[in-house]
Symmetry: C2
Subunit: 488 residues, 2 copies
């Protein structure tokens, strides 16, 4: 490990001869129809002052905004209310922008996180005019990101111009967490040289051509991060079912014999599922978290040594979680690594370490197809995010969700109205009712298992009636398309 | 390159002290309810004599058969007609087994090819009692596969017992093609050390514990390989549209600036699309084929030097193609590499070289979701095979298909009845009508482009009428679920 050897050496926020601007001056530099690549992932580490200045500028803006993942209200609320965003990738988590997307007034496409940087670099997704990046420190030709990395190194490299917000509300001490390995473009791409989950393989700062840096803005506005619902009875029951399964799997799966690498999806369910680490007896096995976001639930486990290391591309903590981390940053720092999303979410890394991935969903069907994004098949919630990066490349992909919505609508259905993860990508589905291990089952066998183990008891008769009717059509994967969405 | 340095040294078919058995004796060794891992991929390189002996044995068999990919009539016809197969993974391409699967009489699940070996090794897909492997040569503790590799090295390692068919109809000279790199299991998996598409990184033989080898059977029965439909007017038009796109993409995509790595899916469409290599002016760029199967169309291009190298896990040639290759094996050998499917189809390799993947489909929807497997959402054709291994990890994933079936049924629809590749995995869709570059488009924009560019002209009004109606429901991705499958 090269842990920390070149890190922790920056003592000033602003270093060398860089142009200091007000937020308004920087906002004025952004063309009305610019394509802006912003930092930010897991609702933290995004620029705040310049977006607010843009929103206040009373200009007629039609921006394309490409972030790493979700960002805060300064972008996806304030800029939306100023009618300034015309196009948006790849993920959002705020009602204001969600509404405009679903009205067709903001063009949006949710993209896999792992390959988003590549898409910006050579996939024709967006040609960045400006990169607008939050940093804890900046110098002539380098910056240190703040609470998330996402695709910041790529955006900095790809954009014609660079604007940096140096945020005094983000501890300078965050600099020790970053490991900013940059992948070459194909076909000269090298293997990612990561041999341990907590290894550091890249620099702690992102370098850039100093002539790109047009302005640095100072701010002290904190993140507006996620807040998590406290786990309720349903989440606890899901977590218990998952824990029972993991305990059995530890005994029989050779790739879990010595070390275990886990990932949990973003959100309240993912945060609640982290509890399984406290419940399961891992014996002598080291447990590493190798995921996309680090959420509150991991902090206690890291502090107690139950999780040896946690790596991710975002510290997607609640405000309380941020306080806990920031106050004890030196204690946590050796065990936390923040990487570019092109590394944290890469197929190569997920496969290499044999990550057990646990992600939530809106609904699942009895054949194992999963809808993570579109309510009713039409209205997007947040986007696919990194869920498929993990479920597609995990040797053990688990989907955890309640069997019904709070309002009593079934989440275990005959046919999902939108597919984000196919029947080929999902190994295990768990609800508060039970767990279906789908590995090695045919579609008909899967359907039987799903109804018996995962569906809400009050939905089982209707599901079985549908499957009886579908069986008359026959096929490897029986459906009656006239009733697939209208089965109750 | 270590090309050929340890290869081409086997001069005898059967070497050392190995037990020679008749096919009937070997068949008798297989328990009635055994789980059998067979070699075979792309309808070549599968065992023939022992399956035929099993089919003739008049025993009451309920076998689980796990192959690498598709196999020939000796397994998926003869054993099926003998009612000997109860369960089958991961792919099949013969009407006899397809019918039983769709009647629910054979339990089948199509699995991604890249991870199938891992699933057998530790994913609870199947616990192999016997590996039944076709080889061109065998010795005490080693064998050389024949016309395909698939997951043979894994099956040999995982099975309790090993039966080998040495096939004199397969040239001994095939030994120079194999590069049998074995990946370690996670979490100690190393990066695949492939730095050039034509590099050889592993041994030319598969090693095994000699005590596992219970019998060697001699045969001289040739493969019953695929036959390809000659490209018709529709395929030529698709190929022309694809060629025009590739010519433009060469100019604008930095990852194609110096070298191009291509993959084409198995089947007549894939084979026809190979023609684009002859049509497009690649300038000084080296063109490498980095795919799952090597089909007939590549032979001329390799001979002419238009393709520098071709690597795959199967020589999925027609009988005529096999003749051409076998008669000129020494000339072709330096440019062809046969790898385990866990390497040829790995996310890591596909991503590293920036493969442009071209795969066919049964149908696509206007939002970019693709059905490759299930007619009407219910009746499986062949299975997903490796198509998603490429489309999910390619930086440029192209789907090529006619806009209608031969019978006039639309293949461009509002909502596919089964999703194998999601809207997030597909970049470009091409039909004989035109090409839709979906990169950077929102779902509504995609739908408009797909109807205008790819749909059959006689379907466009109906598709637009559907989209108008769906637009009333709104959403990021408009649908009217009452009419999504009943839109005409």
């Amino acid at each position: 490990m090269t842990r920390g050897t070149t890190r922790g050496t920056v003592t000033e926020r602003v270093n060398g001869d860089v142009p200091l601007w007000s937020a308004g001056e920087a906002a004025g530099r952004i063309d009305a129809d610019a394509t802006v690549g912003v930092s930010g992932f897991g609702s933290v580490g995004y620029p705040k002052a310049v977006p607010l200045a843009l929103a206040d500028a009373e200009r007629d803006l039609s921006l394309t905004v490409v972030s790493g993942g979700s960002v805060g209200e300064e972008i996806d609320t304030a800029l939306v209310e100023a009618d300034a965003i015309e196009r948006r990738y790849p993920f959002q988590a705020r009602p204001e922008i969600r509404e405009l997307i679903n009205e067709g007034r903001v063009a949006f496409h949710d993209r896999h996180i792992s390959s988003l940087g590549d898409e910006v670099a050579y996939g024709r997704l967006a040609d960045l005019d400006v990169a607008l990046i939050e940093a804890v420190a900046v110098g002539e030709g380098w910056l240190v990101p703040s609470t998330s990395v996402g695709h910041t190194p790529t955006y900095v490299e790809q954009a014609d111009e660079l604007l940096v917000e140096v945020n005094d509300a983000q501890p300078l001490g965050l600099q020790v967490l970053h490991d900013l390995y940059r992948r070459e473009a194909p076909p000269d791409r090298e293997p990612i040289p990561l041999t341990r989950p907590d290894e550091r393989i890249g620099p702690g700062r992102t370098r850039f051509d100093p002539s790109k840096l047009v302005g640095v803005v100072r701010t002290d506005r904190p993140d507006t991060p996620y807040s998590f619902r406290a786990p309720g009875e349903t989440e606890r029951a899901i977590s218990d079912n998952l824990a029972a399964f993991l305990a059995e799997e530890l005994d029989r799966n050779p790739i879990l014999a010595e070390r275990v690498h886990l990932q949990f999806g973003v959100g309240s369910i993912g945060n609640a599922m982290v509890e399984v680490i406290d419940t399961v007896d891992f014996g002598d096995r080291a447990v590493h978290y190798l995921g996309e976001v680090l959420q509150d639930g991991l902090l206690d486990l890291l502090a107690a040594g139950q999780v040896e290391s946690a790596s991710a591309t975002s510290l997607a903590l609640s405000a309380d979680g941020q306080d806990r981390l920031f106050e004890n940053l030196d204690a946590y720092a050796p065990d936390i690594v923040l990487r570019p999303a092109s590394v944290s979410n890469s197929a190569e890394v997920v496969d290499r370490f044999g990550v057990v991935g646990v992600n939530s969903a809106l609904s699942v069907d009895v054949y194992g197809n999963v809808n993570s994004t579109h309510l009713g098949g039409t209205h997007v919630v947040n986007g696919i995010g990194g869920s498929a990066d993990f479920s597609r490349n995990c040797p053990l992909a688990i989907v955890a969700l309640p069997s019904r919505t709070d309002g009593g609508t079934p989440r275990v259905v005959p046919m999902v109205t939108h597919v984000d993860h196919t029947e080929h990508d999902v190994d295990v589905i768990v609800t508060e009712q039970g767990l279906a291990d789908l590995r090695g089952l045919s579609p008909r066998e899967r359907a039987e298992r799903m109804v018996a183990a995962c569906a809400h008891p009050d939905d089982r008769d209707d599901l079985r009636a549908y499957l009886d009717r579908a069986g008359r059509t026959g096929g490897n994967l029986p459906h009656d398309l006239d009733f697939a969405f209208d089965w109750r």
